[in-house]
Subunit: 190 residues, 4 copies
């Protein structure tokens, strides 16, 4: 095995560990009170809307799918069948920078309608963060390896998937649901 | 704070840790030789196709987006602009059970065309696994907490995201790319 | 202008007229009683589901979007937030051939659940057609120009768009809706 | 049959005819020279990008799918695998009003990159129209029945589908393609 070959396999395993541990660090410090407030908004909202641009939106879609399987009504903003947001609904925006135009425009509409806004971001001082009813800040300080092992939004997206999957586990307890009841709501996949 | 409230926050943090450590365990044991073979297929294929049903397909889409940013040509099977698979192309199928009809049908077409097939699955003995040119088996043994903390395919999907993100890090080395060159390929997001 | 150039512009205008007139012919003969039965199913269903493979599915998505704007709950089968079909729901399948595996599988699930099935197809004798509660057959006899001016499913897809748009106009009357009330339900598009 | 019931069936057939004839009127007057210029841009572009917001984007997706089957490389702006637009590429924007923020932003990026822009719109005096390399204006004057029989963008979307399908017919001539060669490029649909 050449040195070069070796490098690549080593980078794979180093990146895998790096992503796992950086995400663990960022999630461990999340205040349980914020999780409880988020769960309250999610369980009492008639409809839940998820938004994210690019890859954050892809993670948002994975979350929305689980919300539906958990028995809630959920939509992804930007998809064809998504209705309008109404007073009392909950909207979750995933945005690493807290600065994308489309996220800010979504937040403005949400607040104007009197809906609740949960923002998940790495920038607690961004304009988007200021618009939030519940702000979940994911702390991912820069270091020398990040750009090489987890380029662009990789850490934020990975943290968002694990965070929203853990929210689903807590939501099952809150709603008296379990894997069997979720499986029964698994949609037709053809 | 009531006992009930307490439970929910505890479940969140327990689930977050559980997912992280189970995924770490499953990825640590992956044979570096399989990663190298996958990288070889990806870098020499004229086009790369990704397929997964349901939430696995969502993770596949996140991977395809990064492949494009890394300078490769990638498509998601099932999307409107996806061309036909041709000899020499590489196809990656994400399937926890290795048994979904649509995954098997995709695999059959791929093999008939003479393309290379990478299968990522938890079932190395499934029919889909047997059709693979490269089989990446993700070992996620059942335990007493799994259904409560990570229902349905949560662990597989989470492992798939981390695995494919780590493949991207290795791919950057293999292709002499970095975060800046990826950012320059970041598509219009309106 | 060269002869070749001339040809292309002439083919454009010939195709445009051909598609328009073939679609008109196919829709004029549709029995009003079938339209009324379809409207009844759509207006009384708690949820409406639309399915089509490939380009038929794209037209189905355009229809589902209008159904939501008309105040109904509608989903596209295969999208991430689509819940399961339940008794009393209405399902509309668009399938030119009436023979695609995924359409048949969808129809089987729909009938097993006791939901109502509207099939729009060019093949009234197909297995899919036989599974329908309401069968809307689009008659598009083959002629010598079809493959050149409207290749593959072009005529069926064009007829399906016009048919479903006309259903929306009739639905507005049935539900006492109008353009203004629809505009007020126009979702966030960011 | 009650008067009310009768109304609804009559509205269906009236809407179906109305949409067909209004679309025919709007397309008949399109200058063949614009079609030829569009075909030239499409056939010589390394990649073609299609964009539209909402339902216009759905029609754009149907067009992109046919472009791929006709042997061209085509992408939908906003989808996960869409690469960046480069000099020499062709971009087609479908926008009824010519005023949506996302369409204007897309046009600005396209012009900055030195790519060619085809705009299909009902507003030849809009800012978007002014940014076009080729402007295809669809003339749909308002009348007393439009809002009732073809609410919101129905006529524009219907005209866009027929126009782009007719472009495909002309493109087949220009490229020496036919239905059989298109069918052979029909992607895996599982």
């Amino acid at each position: 095995m050449s040195a070069r070959t070796d490098d690549r396999a080593a980078v794979f395993h180093r990146a895998q560990e790096y992503i796992g541990s950086r995400v663990s660090d960022s999630l461990t410090s999340i205040d349980p009170a914020l999780i409880l407030r988020t769960l309250e908004l999610l369980t009492r909202a008639p409809s839940i809307f998820v938004y994210g641009a690019g890859r954050s939106g892809i993670i948002g879609r994975a979350f929305a799918m689980r919300l539906v399987q958990a028995g809630l009504r959920a939509y992804v903003i930007g998809e064809s069948v998504t209705p309008i947001v109404q007073r009392g609904d909950a909207v979750i925006i995933l945005s690493r920078s807290g600065e994308s135009y489309s996220s800010m425009q979504t937040a403005n509409i949400v607040r104007r309608e009197g809906s609740e806004l949960v923002v998940i971001t790495t920038r607690p001082t961004s304009k988007l963060a200021h618009a939030a009813s519940v702000l979940i800040s994911i702390d991912l300080p820069e270091d020398g390896e990040r750009s090489r092992l987890a380029p662009l939004g990789t850490l934020f997206e990975s943290a968002s998937l694990r965070l929203t999957d853990a929210l689903i586990a807590a939501l099952l307890v809150a709603r008296g649901e379990n894997e069997e009841s979720m499986r029964a709501r698994h949609a037709i996949m053809v």
